[in-house]
Amino acid sequence: MATTANVHQTKWWSGGKSPFNMEYGKLMMWYFLMSDAFTFGAFLISYGSIRFSQNFWPDPNVVFNAFPGAGHANLPLAFVSVMTFILIISSVTMVLAVHAGHKGDKQAVVKWLAWTIVGGLAFLSCQAWEWHHLITGEHATLIDGQIKMVGQTTTVNPWGDLASASAVADALKNTSHETLVQLVSSHDHSVSHEQLAGMSQEKLISMVNAADLHIRENGPVAFGGYFYGITGFHGFHVFSGVVINIIMLIMTQKDVFQKRGHYLMIEKAGLYWHFVDLVWVFVFLCFYLI
């Protein structure tokens, strides 16, 4: 190509053209993403700052060990790896959509965009399940001198340090009858729920096998706030990315880009989508791995 041969002699900065050979829209998208990186960066760095200001922080392997349909099986990191792969694959399909756009291949653009949207929706569904599981989970936790069954919210954290046997023994005395029934039935399946409900407080306490239950103290509550805050903000980006991709799909179907003669809009949507993937890489690191 004649143009490529001349690249080195071109005076990129002399005015009259883009110094980066890039249309303004793409340039703005890049700098917008840069700005957004600082938003996410600020969130994650705040999380880091708070985490370093605590004496104890939950081990992610203990927190994220559930898998849909697997019951109480201990499968640390399994589900989040599924989510990560979904996002990586959807990024790949987006690359292919952009590539098809460069070639002006409308059918391929439609196909790959559709797969990207499916990937985005799948990721969002996974996230919805994970949030639901964490919030509604019932974990025996030592809070204010008694055992409570709580999930991960912005005000309690069931993933504190393991409580000492003596503290648990003391706490059981203050624990509500209903919670005791739940505690016993979680490891003793020989007695029915109704029978347990009829038993006295003392009887139930004697039946609780505290060592098996791994009762934890109330952990740092900032964990929940940051987890929901940051994954929620990321999920919001995924959601808006899906919306953008749907709009791109409709525009492609209606031949808007065909008439325009270029698919540069898809390229910008692609940048946004990859950025969402990029952010997830860091969210994955900060919340699930370290």
């Binding site: 883009s18 110094p19 303004y24 890049w30 760095i45 880091g48 922080w57 950025f275 994955f284």
Partner: protein, 164 residues
């Protein structure tokens, strides 16, 4: 509204944006597809290694004597692997690697600000913890993790990284 000047409106399909002098297309289809496939595999492999390290950390924690230094090194390794992933996503998927060098610099150089951003915030968070441990005994006693399932008589001074 249509009298408004809009640089994109008055263009023929051949010169979409006047400020752009040529469009570089991906050299050829097969090579491009190969590059994408390679990157995908690379990203997957790195992710799997990361997961393996995550599980290794989990096993270390379950063991009798967690080695804080080993955990710290594993975590450092994961951070580096994550940066490698980010590099591949940005450079291949987002095509930043194919742009003009100056363009790459305008993206990469401002990101350097994160270095001091992270150091200062994390260092101050850590300092806040140390100050509270020193002057707020209640904070220290109520949050310092028990040493292997029994409360330590004398809490160790917390170190920066390994405080799981």
């Amino acid at each position: 509204m249509s009298t408004h000047f809009d640089p994109t409106k008055h263009i023929s399909s051949s010169a979409a944006y006047p400020e752009v002098s040529f469009h570089h297309h991906d050299t050829d289809d097969a090579a491009f597809k190969k590059k994408v496939r390679k990157t995908t595999i690379l990203l997957s492999v790195i992710t799997i290694i990361e997961l393996a390290i995550g599980l290794a950390i989990y096993t270390i924690h379950k063991g009798e004597n967690p080695n804080a230094l080993l955990v710290l090194m594993f975590k450092g390794a994961v951070c580096i692997l994550t940066l490698a992933k980010a590099y591949y996503i940005v450079s291949v998927f987002m095509h930043l690697g194919d742009e003009i060098r100056n363009m790459i610099m305008t993206i990469v150089v401002p990101l350097m600000l994160f270095i001091w951003f992270i150091i200062a915030f994390v260092a101050d968070g850590n300092s806040y913890k140390n100050l509270r441990n020193k002057y707020d005994k209640h904070f220290q006693e109520s949050t310092m993790p028990a040493d292997h399932h029994k409360k330590a008589e004398e809490p160790k001074p917390a170190d920066a990284g390994g405080k799981q």
